[in-house]
Amino acid sequence: MTVFQLMLMTFLIVCAVSASFSRNLLNSVLIYMSFSLVMSILWVCLESPDLAITEAAVGAGVTSLLFFATLKKIRGIVIEREVEKREKEEEEAKEHE
């Protein structure tokens, strides 16, 4: 096992832990994406390029896209414009009081 593979595996563990401990759901999905990407590199190192292609396309691509779509549906992604609008509304409400 080379140093490179060891580094990748450490990165994998860090990714796995931080994905589950991240407070922001969007960050979790992004970390999960990078996890899949590193995993696909590891598959190449383990001499299974077939799996590497599938992992990159499904794990890093399609699954995260589905996660994004779901997050958007459940309003898990908060857009800055929305936040500003909400803050303005709150300020106006305070002023009215």
């Binding site: 390029p49 077939d50 590497a52 292609i53 589905l66 549906k73 857009i79 929305e82």
Partner: protein
């Protein structure tokens, strides 16, 4: 001929009373029995105060999480046992893994006559340079067929669960969802214009070269699906609807699965009855070689690409 009676006269007869009773238009007890509306149930003031006092006591004593010793103890024990359980499970698994034979060691139990046969005679029997594809689409084609069907069934289930009719309550929400969508995002469109053709071409290359180089139907199909999703995100539903509708999805999936099923049934039938299949294997290394594997790869790729794209569309819009 019966005599015609007046209304008052008729009301006095037995028949009138009987039919009146039958239809229930008059309550026989009404006007005879005294009826009182039910009074509202009320508690006495002292009882109410008692209840309030009880509630307050409950809140003070039991739900006082900061000073309740039992709850504090329970929380601490809970955290401690969770940590102990996680560490125990991880160490148990690691301990088990340490007994596994090393990767690539000669005395692995998986190193028996089956992979030996695949490696030695795979090229000769299937004509596929890529042994993995030869395995999954020739020796184990039945499994792959089941996999494609699982994908198809999953999409059908998603269609049933997420399919929303237009002009219904969901329309407002759909529009709401599109408010935040960057319409005509310049960066995304410029990127997609360069990337999408490359991605889809690469996917087609993976599918068609499945028997020569790493890859195959599933991974190539996933790449094509991802490219289609990128195109959809950059240019919106209106452009993709010209190319890809529900009808297209239905027919592509149906024809691909049927072709797969028929092709494999033929080779199973001939193989089981020791007949010659008359399908030329071709020269290994050429694109038109290895018998049915190329066709099967294309079928799997089409099903997977359609499935990925349909999943995304269903999640986003609930309709094609």
């Amino acid at each position: 001929m019966s005599r015609r009676r007046s209304r008052e006269e008729y009301e006095r007869t037995l028949a009138f009373r009987f039919f009146r009773w039958l239809s229930g238009s008059k309550d026989p007890y009404l006007g005879r029995v005294e009826m009182k509306p039910q009074e509202e149930w009320r508690e006495e003031e002292s009882v109410q105060l008692d209840h309030l006092h009880d509630h307050q006591m409950l809140r003070d004593r039991i739900y006082d999480t900061e000073h309740n010793r039992k709850i504090i103890f329970f929380y601490k024990l809970y955290k401690l046992s969770a940590v102990v359980f996680c560490i125990g499970l991880a160490s148990l698994l690691l301990y088990t893994v340490s007994y596994l034979p090393k990767t690539g060691a000669a005395n692995r139990p998986a190193n028996n006559e089956v992979p030996a046969r695949y490696i030695e005679k795979g090229l000769q029997e299937t004509g596929a340079v890529n042994i993995v594809t030869g395995m999954i689409l020739d020796y184990r084609a039945f499994d792959t067929f089941g996999e494609s069907n699982v994908l198809f069934v999953a999409t059908v289930t998603v269609l049933i669960l997420l399919h929303a009719k237009r002009n219904s309550k969901g329309e407002e929400e759909q529009e709401n969802d599109r408010i935040f969508e960057p319409k005509n995002d310049a960066i995304l469109q410029a990127g997609a214009r360069i990337l999408v053709p490359v991605i889809i071409l690469f996917g087609i290359y993976i599918v068609l070269n499945g028997h020569l180089s790493p890859g195959g139907g599933f991974s190539g199909g996933a790449v094509i699906g991802a490219g289609l999703i990128l195109y959809l995100n950059a240019f919106g539903f209106r452009k993709t609807e010209k190319l890809f509708t529900e009808k297209v999805y239905k027919w592509v999936s149906f024809s691909a699965l049927t072709t797969y099923c028929l092709a494999k049934s033929y080779s199973f039938f001939t193989g089981a009855n020791h007949l010659e299949s008359h399908i030329p294997l071709g020269t290994p290394g050429h694109i038109l070689s290895s018998g049915l594997i190329l066709i099967l790869n294309i079928c799997v790729g089409m099903v997977v690409a359609c499935t990925m794209y349909t999943f995304y569309v269903m999640f986003r819009k609930g309709d094609f």
